[in-house]
Symmetry: C2
Subunit: 390 residues, 2 copies
């Protein structure tokens, strides 16, 4: 491991967060509880994180002056999303400011082609992938991969955006035209039987692993997570082994999430790495002794890692916007969730909703994942997103 | 019970909090998690609660215009401290705004003479007490109460302020002169063997009781709480019975805390009632399924009460300022607490410390109160409050 300067930020030190969404918000709530000051950078005024932070710098993420202002005003910077200009971060680092994870790590992870190449070189199994530079090449890859591919932008995709599954040659051109203004990769479509993920914490002391989460997606958006995942001890060991290898290769401080596919041969493939707290780790707020958000605050302030132990089995469901309500909204029916024991409703304070937009989540704890799942399902089923009547 | 209008505030509704201290801060953190907007009223800019709220109205508590602004901008008001002008609250209520608990309740509780008179009339045992209007009367009371009294201001006291124990006739005049600009009461000094308290939640559906906490004070300031209190089942039943009777008499919605003395005959006396979340209930944040702060947010928004079940035995220690550091400060050594499993450090973001000023607290959970106590003690012993070096 590289040697790094030892630092320890006493409260009240100042933490900077690039990105003012829900992940930033949950980070701020933990940081404030621990007595730190937080400044958030986000272009949208009154962002979910900005609402609870000491200050929000309202600026585009591409504005070096604003980024430098954030660095000047704070003792350490972290980020809640990975689509930040790496060159800007790098120049801030060169000016002597601390950013965790570093711009090097972000570069490695941000570009899916680079990320997968590193994983492949490490000997970690990933879906077969190719860079795509033109339509003819894409057709060739389509046949090579047995007529089932996922076409992805190398950078910038999230929640299914910049991501098309193609199983019909006639859809190839349309999909290509939609995405071809970006750097593209085509991946083997994995007919997985399970998707799981693991959140990993790494600081100057070492590595901690959170329990493996089993995830259900729909249209590439996370619908629910069940913890612990229903996998064999052997599969769990394999997952932790791969995660450890990857995190040692990354060799940086932060919270990371690795998503995996398990195919019908029970073989484990890495899907994606995120260098930040992850939606599939929201259960850690009530479900674990130390949440992924508190853990990241501990890491960037040079504090010891907290226990990642699970208190009880959990189920987490996202609260998603629908195609009926766009713009200002209120949330009806949270009382059904609040009535249930050990069931928690989180709402992110987003000013607008939209189809499939994540506006909150529900976590339920119980003595079995099945009970937790039923409880969270029940809570979610009564929630209605309605137009805000003024 | 009085019938009251049924209301239910959907997120994002607006909650107003009078008072921007640590109790307000912990309320805001829960309200924001649940998707509510919060406006705080406090004279000090950048108050602990104001830092995390959507807005802080900076104003004296006695300013009716500011209080009306808070009412106009929010859907319901609550408060984090009881020394508010009841007449102002009443006039705001008369304008049609909702305040929980009501100004009537606050009036009943705010004045210690009135509070104790109500309790006495209810048949609840309280220390013998008398109003004091002049020094001669005080002398007479001193002899009547066997030369051991507590002289208190009827309103406005907290953390030992406005509160003198007198066991020497020669100290009587000095103490009287110090406090005599206020309405005063003199109370029998109780040579208790234990102090305990109970937090109670009351809403439109009913009453819930939190586990009884055992409290250690020094110079009338809470040092630590241990939960569950080491008391017999019988004593616990008596405490819950008294609490129920009092809460039914108060007949209002809110979080209440009742403090008790247990004397050497194991007899239970009521010391004081607070119409708000209480320092001795901070353990509920990690220790119970629903914290006293989330519970109050549920109550004022018309949501169902949450479970008050204890997850594990707890110990809570306050982090208090010392007489060495006054003004701006930083907190060293929190890492010793963060290293311990299931040990939580809360810091309130107060801009200044001072002797015995509450700047944070530590809660530890474990399988026995003894282990929890040792853990929290260890965490606290390494915390140092130092001058902030600029």
């Amino acid at each position: 491991m590289k040697t790094r300067e030892i630092f320890r930020l006493k409260p009240p030190s100042n933490i900077g967060i690039v990105g003012g969404g829900q992940l930033g918000r949950m980070l701020v709530l933990e940081a404030k509880r621990m007595g730190y000051n937080v400044i958030v950078l986000d272009p949208k005024p009154n962002s979910p994180a900005g609402q609870v932070a000491d200050e929000q710098i309202i600026s585009d993420f591409s504005d070096i002056v604003a980024l430098r202002e954030l660095a000047t005003k704070t003792d350490v910077i972290t980020y809640e999303f990975e689509h930040i200009d790496v060159e800007l971060l790098k120049s801030i680092e060169k000016e002597g400011y601390k950013i965790y994870p570093s711009s090097n790590t972000l570069r490695m992870i941000q570009n899916k082609y680079e990320q997968k190449t590193i994983l492949k070189n490490l000997g970690v199994r990933v879906p077969i992938f190719y860079p795509v530079t033109n339509l003819d090449e894409l057709k060739e890859i389509f046949y090579k991969l047995n007529g089932k591919i996922v076409l992805k932008t190398s950078t910038g995709g999230y929640d299914g955006k910049g991501n098309v599954i193609i199983k019909d040659i006639n859809k190839l051109e349309e999909a290509y035209k939609e995405l071809c203004n970006n750097e593209l990769i085509a991946e083997e479509f994995i007919d997985y039987i399970k998707e799981v993920s693991i959140v990993i914490a790494k600081n100057h002391e070492g590595i901690s692993f959170y329990p493996v989460s089993e995830n259900i997606h729909k249209d590439s958006i996370l619908i629910k997570s069940i913890i612990p995942a229903k996998i064999s001890n052997e599969t769990e060991k394999i997952i932790i082994g791969i995660a450890e290898e990857i995190i040692e290769e990354i060799d940086d401080y932060g919270i990371f999430c690795i998503e995996f596919f398990i195919d019908s041969n029970l073989s484990v493939l890495v899907n994606e790495i995120a260098p930040r707290p992850h939606n599939s780790g929201h259960y850690t707020i009530e479900g674990c002794i130390t949440s992924q958000f508190e853990q990241l605050i501990r890491i960037v302030t040079g504090m010891p890692l907290g226990s990642t132990k699970l208190r009880l089995p959990c189920a987490m469901y996202n609260i998603l916007g629908n195609n009926r309500v766009d713009g200002g909204y209120c949330v009806e029916g949270i009382e059904s969730g609040l009535e249930l024991e050990d069931c928690y409703v989180h709402l992110y304070g987003k000013s607008e909703t939209g189809n499939l937009k994540k506006i909150g989540h529900i976590t339920a704890l119980d003595y079995s994942t099945q009970n937790a799942d039923l409880k969270a399902q029940k809570a979610l089923s009564n929630i209605k997103i309605e137009f805000l009547s003024m």
